[in-house]
């Protein structure tokens, strides 16, 4: 198979001693930073990105792959050992994981999370090897109208599917588009929203936006609400698991992987939904239902695998379409752009060597992580005790260093502060961060594709729905664009459709939907829902009002 050959070449690039060392450093630093409370994978990558500026692209990306998986794994360690999760994707892992740790089974929880992450990451990356070239082939045939539609879908999906409020999602999206407008217009060269400031004519660097919103905004937000008492960290020895744990874990790992990868790969997916689905599935299938809510190992193994497989899945649209579907992928895409690499369907052709080296180092990073994390877990647990003033002062310190390093200019620090304050305001008012960051990255590109599509139709709006066939000279609707617009309509009308479906369904199915919905919205209370006798839906309905 052709892909395998390319992958082997990728391994040859990635497995040189220097690059292996970089992958190792990336994994260690990524895990260490990811374990720190308050720092999720996206912030880990954003904070460490500018430091990679001095390396050549291939080496930097190899290190980045290590940071990426390291940050993911570090995040789940935090959610198991502390009682509150930081990332929405590890909320579910925390439900059972923290209970296990409290019951003295922290070692097994960490072990099943580490092995599950490894298995899901490896299978997910293998699927990436298979799907990325396939999607690229499809993507090359797409023109401007199709691209415009797909990016619009990414916007709508990320805004309407995630988060508690669609209205607030759209506000966040528009703020992101506004930030993306700043600078010289790429077609006409006119300055937009620069207010005569020359440093703004190149636009606001995505890295500065990401570091400002993720790192500075988070540090300021936490500073306003810092817990004054010490958090409780559960002590842990070396992770291990017995035969029984293994027997109970391997099926959830595989099922979690099966949920995670496809959700990660589609624009509306993300890690939140597959981790919840995995949790619910394991709860239904388990032979130990009495343990759920009190620390069932299946409830850690499945969601953790789903989380990692979804991360691998997000690499498919990122590498083949240049489309980020979660915050971490968005920041990684920003990394590619900062190396002057143009993301999009031509990436695999133009930068094949680099992409395959990146994919190979995902395999390598994942393996290194497993080898490292089992023995190092007690050390990572110690990191959780870092005094909070140092932690958040350190975030400010590294954020400032990184933003300065992007262009070697203190003007970027002013922008960083503005973005940090915006990040604070967004957290205060429950505006989701993800739509903003995706809009900053995709905004300029969707405008370009839209204008290109309309150029082909001489400015007529139908240009967004299709193009003129070269051989016949006739206007043709593009089936792909039309399908994507239909999906957008369905996503937008979903709350209405959902209500209709619920009415049409028999009572039993309605109840099941209720439970699923309840667990998605209030995962902490998932256990009370199932413990209550199902015979009394009315009382439950009332208690929820």
């Amino acid at each position: 198979m052709d892909n395998l050959e390319l992958l082997l070449q990728g391994f040859a690039t990635a497995a040189t001693p220097v690059n292996l060392l970089l992958a190792l450093i990336g994994v260690i630093v990524g895990t260490a930073v990811g374990v720190l409370p308050g720092i999720g994978p996206a912030m880990t990558v954003a904070l460490l990105l500018p430091i990679l500026g001095g390396l050549e692209p291939t080496s930097a990306l190899i290190m980045l792959a290590g940071i990426f998986y390291g940050g993911m794994y570090g995040g789940s360690t935090t959610s198991i050992l502390l009682n509150t999760p930081g990332e929405s994707s590890s909320v579910v892992t925390a439900i059972e994981g923290n209970q296990m740790a409290r019951g003295g089974r922290a070692a097994q929880a960490l072990a099943t999370a580490a092995l599950g992450s490894f298995i899901a990451g490896t299978i997910g990356t293998a699927l990436l090897v298979f799907f990325a070239p396939l999607v690229t082939q499809f993507a090359i045939s797409l023109g401007a109208p199709e691209y415009f539609a797909i990016m619009l879908l990414a916007f709508i999906a990320v805004t309407a599917v995630f988060g508690a409020s669609r209205l607030r999602g759209f506000i966040s999206l528009m703020l992101g588009l506004t930030i993306g407008l700043v600078g010289l217009d790429s077609v006409s060269g006119q300055a937009r929203l620069t207010f005569g400031i020359p440093q703004l004519s190149d636009g606001i660097d995505v890295v500065v936006v990401a570091v400002g919103i993720f790192a500075l905004g988070e540090a300021l937000w936490v500073a306003a609400h810092l817990r004054r008492r010490a958090v409780e960290v559960i002590p842990v020895g070396r992770p291990w698991m017995g035969r029984e744990d293994f027997k109970r874990s391997w099926k959830p790992w595989l099922r979690g992987t099966a949920y995670g990868f496809p959700f990660g790969a589609v624009p509306a997916g993300g890690a939140e939904i597959p981790t919840f689905l995995s949790y619910i599935t394991e709860k239904r299938l388990t032979k130990h239902p009495e343990e759920f809510g009190k620390g069932a190992i299946e409830g850690v193994a499945g969601p953790e695998a789903a989380n990692n497989a979804s991360a691998a899945g997000t690499m498919v649209p990122m590498l083949s379409l240049g489309l980020p579907t979660n915050a971490t992928a968005a920041v990684m895409l920003a990394a590619l752009v900062s190396y002057g690499i143009q993301p999009g369907p031509l990436l695999l052709q133009r930068e094949g060597e680099l992409v395959w080296a990146l994919i190979a180092s995902l395999f390598i990073g994942n393996t290194l992580l497993l080898i490292l994390n089992l023995p190092l877990a007690p050390l990572w647990a110690k990191l959780l005790r870092i005094p909070r003033p140092y932690l958040y002062a350190g975030i400010l310190f590294f954020a400032s260093m990184g933003a300065y390093a992007v262009n070697g200019s203190s003007f970027d620090l002013i922008l960083l502060l503005v973005m940090g304050v915006l990040g604070f305001v967004m957290r205060r008012f429950g505006l989701p961060v993800l739509p903003l960051i995706i809009a900053v990255i995709l905004g300029p590109r969707i405008e370009l594709q839209g204008r290109r599509a309309l150029q082909l139709s001489s400015g007529e709006l139908k240009g967004l729905f299709g193009s003129v066939n070269v051989s016949t000279g006739q206007f043709q609707l593009s089936p792909i664009a039309v399908t994507v617009y239909l999906i957008i309509l369905i996503v937008l009308a979903w709350p209405l459709l959902f209500a209709l479906i619920r009415k049409a369904l028999p009572a039993k199915a309605q109840e099941a939907l209720e439970v699923v919905h309840e667990e998605r919205v209030h995962p902490q209370h998932a256990d009370d829902v199932s413990v209550e006798p199902p015979a009394d839906p009315e009382a439950r309905e009332k208690s929820r009002q």
């Binding site: 409370p37 430091i51 588009l177 306003a224 260093m401 070697g408 604070f424 429950g430 505006l431 204008r451």
Partner: protein, 172 residues
């Protein structure tokens, strides 16, 4: 949870700061529109759309969303403040700490080119740690110095990251 569900929830304390957010959005929208109005829209065959329509759309959308949010807030919608590992959700927001941190950060912006990263970065860490409640004044200073020297030698000299030496040029 949709807006409608929030609205039917038991009457919570209305958050008047939300109207401030509406004002900010409307103001941003107006700035975007005014800036767009200033653009000359000489559309060409190559670019029949020109640079104007997108900012007009975005600015207009911001104003519409500001109004929509104001209506939603009046009907009881309230943003869910973000949670996290180190966040005490029941505490009142401590704006004094936030403003002091911003002050320390502004000092860093003003000093970085003059004094160099080692001094301004060290001060940034030291000041932030104290503002955040650390009272180990000597230990904090040692850590700040170690961090700023370490990052300067490791990243600026080792990896070629662009950090300024400032007045310590030639000494470091």
């Amino acid at each position: 949870m949709t807006e409608a569900a929030t609205a039917t929830a038991p009457a919570r304390h209305r958050d008047y700061a939300e109207y401030g957010l509406c004002g900010f959005l409307a103001l941003t929208g107006i700035v975007v529109l005014l800036d767009a109005a200033r653009l000359s829209n000489n559309t060409t065959g190559v670019d029949p759309v020109g640079p104007k329509p997108v900012p007009l759309l975005v600015g207009g959308a911001l104003i519409v969303l500001a109004v929509a949010l104001a209506v939603a807030v009046a009907r009881g919608s309230r943003g869910e403040a973000e949670a996290g590992e180190d966040i005490d959700p029941h505490s009142r927001a401590d704006y004094k700490t936030v403003l002091l941190l911003i002050g320390v950060f502004i000092a860093n912006i003003l000093l970085i080119d003059l004094l160099g990263w080692v001094i301004s970065g060290g001060l940034l860490f030291y000041g932030s740690a104290i503002v955040l409640g650390s009272r180990h004044f000597v230990r904090d200073l040692v850590i700040a110095a170690a961090l700023s020297l370490g990052t300067f030698y490791g990243f600026a000299i080792g990896l070629g990251v662009a950090l300024p030496a400032g007045i310590l040029q030639g000494i470091l």
